[in-house]
């Protein structure tokens, strides 16, 4: 049976420090504007007038949480299916890789991916994306993002084992619904996690 490598993310532990993002950026020497792993700050709610003292404002339904997101190495990966050049392939262990020598740079995968995983490298003229640190995985080591997290909010492993250990939640706002692509992803939601697609909050950090 084919195996499937997957990421785990604990939103209840993440403090939004972005160490994972920087570790990834550093390891892959990513150009400005390209981030394989991104930490999204999602928040919402409002300050409303106090009923008794309308000059004073009080918080109403305020929430904020961080999500660390990379390529989901989806089980039903649209990028693999739609790439016209067959430049994106899924390995036997489920890891989705871009072959930069085959890429024609049409950006079609960028349209098809709901996670913004394939991104454009202007120097190479091709799309590039998270490769799950295959070089390290093949040596039995952990991906940089997982190893770098000071809160131990990231983990990786076989999807089945991660599900057995952490449950089956794979989407909260602002992630897309999981049935779109069947992502190889498991997460523990933050206590204020919002449901997918309701638009109760917004992404606050415009840099990612």
């Amino acid at each position: 049976m084919a195996t499937q490598k997957a990421f785990y993310f604990d939103a209840s532990a993440c403090n939004g420090c972005k160490a994972c993002m920087i570790a990834c950026k550093s390891k892959n020497a990513l150009p400005v504007g390209v981030n394989f792993r991104r930490v999204l700050q999602y928040g919402g709610g409002a300050w409303v007038p106090d009923p008794e003292y309308p000059d004073f404002l009080q918080p109403s339904g305020l929430f904020a949480y961080s999500l660390s997101v990379a390529c989901m190495h989806c089980q039903n990966a649209p990028c693999v299916n739609i790439c016209p050049a067959k430049a994106i392939e899924k390995r036997d262990d489920g890891i989705v890789l871009v072959d930069e020598d085959k890429c024609i740079g049409c950006h079609y995968c960028e349209w098809a991916c709901p996670y913004g995983a394939p991104q454009f490298d202007a120097d190479k003229g091709t799309m590039i994306k998270c490769d799950f640190c295959v070089d390290l995985i093949d040596q039995g080591e952990a991906p940089y993002c997982v190893a770098s997290c000071p809160m131990r909010a990231l983990d990786f492993g076989e999807l089945d084992e991660l599900r057995a250990k952490y449950g089956t939640v794979s989407a909260v706002a602002p992630l897309p619904p999981a049935d779109l692509t069947d992502p190889a992803f498991v997460m523990t939601p933050h206590r204020d996690a919002q449901p997918v697609g309701q638009g109760t909050g917004r992404i606050y950090d415009d840099e990612v």
Binding site: P78, P84, Y108, W111, A112, Y115
Partner: protein, 304 residues
């Protein structure tokens, strides 16, 4: 919108126009032949046929501008088993090849008319497959504003509308040319031209109505679903362009086409007809370019 997306506007519009032109030309030639015989029908349509190839080639050159790594462009057909983008390129190249073969055969009168009709029929089917593939490229599950029946329906409406008016304009250019060359016995050509323009005008008016139904149904459908952001974007940022797009297609395929239909009834008005069909074609072309611009500029993507 960036250069790459403008390249797609140019490619999709030009490729659809060439497919539509080919289909309309086939229908007109068929009807003209029944009415006035092979020679007169060829005289009406052969020069128009030669205009289609360059339009398609221009579109395919434009499509290369949307690749960041055109050196690998040949790889675009590698995933024909599962990618509609590969199928689009495949049918595009095939349509160009079979269409070119037919143009050579028709121009040099190679093989029998029956064989030529068969080749043209194959090219037409490939053209339809090309437009269908073009639409399917955009029907991605995380692109709700594209992922509906409105995409293929509006692509085919554009195909036929631009094809009909482009060929109407080409027939008028051809007639003006024949007249300038003082070719004898133009009466039959005049009759065929006026007949063709009358049908083209009628077809344009019907297609205009069809297009208005699709546009309004699409807006209603989007505003209630995942693509609501597209409708909001049209209202907030692109309202003027949207209204202009509808107004121009109404003016071209409605008002101009109406007068084209009226004037096509009486002889000796070929110059008026020519001006009307040129105007209608130009207006609809601008309207369709604006429509396609909006298609790319206002799309909604599910996800992050």
């Amino acid at each position: 919108m960036n250069t790459r997306e403008w390249a797609l506007v140019a490619f999709t519009i030009l490729a659809q126009m060439s497919v539509g032109s080919f289909l309309v030309l086939g229908a007109v030639h068929f009807l003209a032949k029944r009415k006035a015989g092979e020679a007169e029908a060829d005289r009406l349509s052969d020069r128009a046929l030669l205009a289609i190839g360059p339009v398609l080639i221009l579109g395919m050159i434009a499509s290369l501008f949307h690749l960041e790594n055109p050196a690998n462009a040949y790889r675009a057909v590698m995933n024909i088993g599962s990618s509609w983008l590969s199928r689009e390129i495949f049918f595009g190249v095939l349509f160009a090849a079979v269409g070119f073969l037919f143009a050579i055969m028709q121009w040099r009168k190679l093989a029998s008319p029956t064989v030529r009709i068969a080749v043209a029929g194959v090219a037409a089917l490939i053209g339809v497959a090309l437009v269908y593939s073009m639409a399917r490229v955009y029907m991605l599950p995380n692109q709700p504003s594209w992922n509906s029946a409105a995409t293929p329906l509006s692509f085919f409406a554009t195909t036929l509308l631009l094809g009909a008016l482009a060929m109407g304009a080409a027939f008028s250019v051809n007639y003006t040319y024949l007249k300038a060359r003082r070719q004898p016995a133009l009466q039959t050509q005049s009759d065929l031209l006026r007949d063709a323009l009358r049908w083209i005008a009628l077809a344009s008016i019907v297609l205009l109505g069809f297009q208005m139904v699709i546009i309004s149904a699409d807006l209603v459908n989007q505003s209630a679903g995942d693509a609501a952001a597209t409708v909001a974007k049209i209202g907030e940022e692109y309202g003027a362009i949207f209204v202009l797009r509808v107004a121009l297609v109404f003016l071209g395929a409605g008002v101009f086409a109406f007068f084209l239909y009226k004037n096509a009834a009486s002889a000796a008005k070929e110059q008026v007809l020519a001006n009307l069909v040129y105007g209608a074609f130009a207006l609809v072309l601008v309207a369709e370019v604006l429509g396609r611009f909006l298609f790319y500029a206002t799309h909604t993507r599910i996800g992050i």
